[in-house]
């Protein structure tokens, strides 16, 4: 039976809620494997583990429960060991490194910030700042929308300006928020947003970046800013 690992904490610090379950169907009971002053939060691993929504959520929830009272180094989803004994050996072999990270991340949480454009507001801004584009838009409009060619050429110019605006706004948000965090890291590139930024903040100091994100959204109506958190410090455990 292989062992699924959720995260690593200090021994005796995790206080898992009774009956906490994790991945699998039926969900496997969560337990702790301790060695060398450290505790790995684990469960049995189902035969066929795949990245299903239910399991991703379970991984996240176990970490949230374990990290409520004490720092936990979150593992990436899908970390599996042959046995509990193997997990214990890893703990004892690298205990110095994990302890150093637990110290560094104690009392810290991650907030993930994603920014996209509210399209109409961003288009408005892009056109208002470019007389050439405005003239083209006006010409197309008086020509009843313009020919297919004209619309295509105009649309391409607009798309380019929108991309420039994205880069500009990404820098704007990053420059405003990063200094308010203890550490920051870019999230993985993916669909739907032009900035994906993770902030490491002290739990007690998380109000400032949240308020600043709110202010940015008010001051720049083209920005749709989504903040997720507090999260286990996924982006800062290495």
């Amino acid at each position: 039976m292989s062992t699924y690992v959720y995260g690593i904490a200090r021994a005796g610090s995790t206080h898992l809620p009774d009956g906490l379950t994790g991945i699998g169907d039926p969900p496997r009971p969560v337990r702790v494997v301790s060695r060398a002053g450290l505790a790995a939060v684990v469960s049995d691993c189902p035969e066929q583990l795949r990245p299903k929504r239910r399991d991703l959520l379970a991984h996240q929830q176990v970490l949230a429960a374990a990290g409520r009272r004490a720092p936990v180094l979150p593992m990436r989803f899908g970390s599996v060991s042959d046995s509990d004994e193997n997990v214990a050996e890893v703990l004892s072999e690298h205990c110095g490194r994990y302890e150093e990270q637990l110290d560094r991340l104690a009392g810290r949480v991650e907030y993930n910030v994603k920014v996209l454009h509210r399209e109409d507001a961003a288009l408005h801004l892009v056109l208002s700042e470019d007389a050439g584009l405005r003239a083209l838009a006006e010409a197309n409009r008086t020509a009843g929308g313009g020919s297919y060619e004209q619309r295509l050429r105009f649309g391409e110019k607009v798309a380019n300006s929108m991309r420039e605006r994205e880069a500009q706004d990404a820098a704007l948000v990053r420059d405003a928020l990063a200094p308010l965090a203890e550490d920051h890291r870019d999230g993985p590139q993916s669909a739907g947003w032009f900035l994906n930024l993770s902030l490491l903040v002290e739990e007690s100091a998380s109000r400032r970046p949240l308020e600043e994100a709110g202010r940015l959204g008010e001051r720049h109506p083209q920005l749709d800013i989504k903040v997720n958190g507090p999260l286990p410090p996924y982006s800062f455990a290495t």
Binding site: V5, P51, L56, Q60, Q61, L127, E138, D224, V227
Partner: protein, 139 residues
Amino acid sequence: MSVVPAQPGTGSAGGTSGLYDVIELVLDRGLVIDAFVRVSLVGIEILKIDVRVVVASVDTYLRFAEACNRLDLESGPHKSAGLPELVGEVTESGAHGKTKGALSGAAQTVSDAIHQVRDRGEEPSRSRRSTSRKKEDTE
């Protein structure tokens, strides 16, 4: 701005609804220990496919041209302070659709993703299954 509480228990449905917004962190960040195997997560690679290339498509150009035609250029960007709220609602629901689309749409590009994974030789995986099985994975 919307803050999504991510801890189950502290926010109502935050755990589930928020997951889609941070799924890439659970899959792509966090501690990796060499002595542990990472199971076969072809789905992970799928999520990384950059759907944003769509921005450079003919459809987008035409859509932008359309949208600009409808815009009221006479009102300045700051004059429309009341507008964003309304726009916000629309984009918000639009963005949710997009997120889901990125996940379910991913199933169609599974084979591409597998090629990419193989080409790069990333992430040794214990069990790679057939493409049809992977489609279930992204449910």
